[in-house]
């Protein structure tokens, strides 16, 4: 009697203790995040500071968790339940249901709804031929010009990562000297649809760090823009300009969360995470876009390469492992995309 009586006491006790611990952790998290918010409002720069939770995340099987989440959200829902589930999701993550292209009860699962397209005309593309448009809905985290050798992008103050580790050993990424690019002798005229002049690649591929004296063409800089997509944002990726996609690189990586806290506490977050890089050329020269996954969004699907699968089980996560690369045909011309064309989609699992 005492034994079963003991057990009947232990189980509820452990459960209550676990709930209290989780509650305390959550309260601490809310407190930390409030502090960060206040710091930002006072204009105090957020700095990189690894914490225990970041080290704990390193131990978790995040890719398996992501795939489990994907299979869970792929469960087909009864038709009558769908609008309730998707409205709850929209309320929790501030999605705009009015823009969804189809009636809610036509999305068979949450995963199906998550990657919904938008009603025609929901995202007008800026017609100015000189402008470069946002490829996604989201929040601008960082932007600017890459200067000086090494081309580093700041993850947060106190920690930066290199463009070449993000994009991979790019044979197309022009060399950077003193932060400026000099257009070589061959000017890239209206690239899309026109064969890329060999000499540009030869120069950029073989060019030494030191560049020819100022050429007749305008100097070129290398710019970057980092955009964060919240869970409730529209998760399809479009083309920022008219360009030719020459190569695709898929890095099987970790799937850390990429929220604000993760950027402050996980080293090399964007360089460690699973990602797909598209690289090519536009009328002003080099162009690349990196789509980076996260725990809840481990899949990156390409409209231009529907067979590509990411977040596959059994992939060995060795940093030394080179990315899986594909050159798009015809060689040197690649696939032509117009500004605003759909390129890719993030999805759960």
């Amino acid at each position: 009697g005492t034994n079963s009586q003991g057990n009947s006491f232990v189980v509820p006790g452990a459960t209550v203790a676990t709930i209290l611990m989780l509650g305390a952790l959550h309260a601490r998290r809310l407190y930390d995040d409030k502090k960060v918010q206040e710091a930002r409002e006072q204009g105090i720069e957020i700095v990189f500071k690894p914490d225990l939770k970041a080290s704990f995340l390193q131990l978790l099987p995040l890719r398996s968790i992501s795939r489990f989440w994907g299979s869970l959200t792929s469960t087909e829902l009864p038709v009558w339940m769908r609008p309730y589930v998707y409205r709850a999701w929209a309320r929790a993550f501030h999605s705009n249901l009015e823009e969804a292209a189809r009636p809610l009860d036509e999305y068979a699962s949450l995963r199906d709804f998550f990657v919904h397209t938008l009603k025609e005309g929901s995202r007008p593309i800026d017609p100015d031929p000189r402008c470069l448009v946002s490829p996604v809905d989201g929040t601008i985290l960082r932007y600017g010009e890459l200067k000086g050798a090494g081309a580093m992008i700041e993850q947060v103050k106190g920690f930066s990562y290199s463009v070449s580790s993000l994009l991979g050993e790019s044979s197309f990424l022009p060399m950077i000297s003193e932060g400026h690019m000099q257009e070589d002798s061959v000017k890239q005229e209206k690239v899309p649809g026109e064969k890329i002049k060999k000499s540009w690649w030869r120069v950029s591929l073989a060019s030494p760090k030191v560049w020819e004296p100022m050429s007749a063409h305008p100097m070129k800089g290398l710019f970057y823009c980092v955009i964060y997509l919240r869970p409730g944002d529209y998760h399809r990726v479009h083309s920022a300009v008219d360009w030719n996609v020459l190569v695709r690189r898929h890095f099987a990586g970790r799937l850390f969360p990429v929220n604000e806290r993760a950027t402050r506490t996980i080293r090399n977050l964007y360089v460690q995470n699973e990602r797909v890089v598209l690289e090519g050329i536009w009328k002003e020269g080099f162009m690349a876009i990196a789509a980076i996954g996260a725990t809840n969004i481990g899949s990156i699907e390409l409209c231009i390469e529907p067979d590509l699968r990411t977040n596959l089980p059994g992939k060995k996560l060795m940093h030394s492992e080179p990315p899986e690369e594909r050159l798009y045909e015809p060689k040197g011309v690649g696939l032509m995309l117009k500004k605003g064309d759909e390129v890719a989609a993030f999805n759960m699992g």
Partner: protein, 42 residues
């Protein structure tokens, strides 16, 4: 998830000549909400 865009664009030919005639300039700021198709820079 996160998207990083990296691209070449014209800069002013000399630090003195900042007339911005052919120089690329962002028209967004950190923390701004953007949507597909809106200009990031010109």
């Amino acid at each position: 998830s996160t998207v990083v865009l990296i691209f070449q664009a014209p800069i002013s030919e000399s630090p003195l000549k900042k007339d911005g005639s052919s120089e690329f300039r962002f028209c967004v700021g950190a923390g701004d909400r953007v949507r597909v198709g809106e200009a990031l820079g010109r």
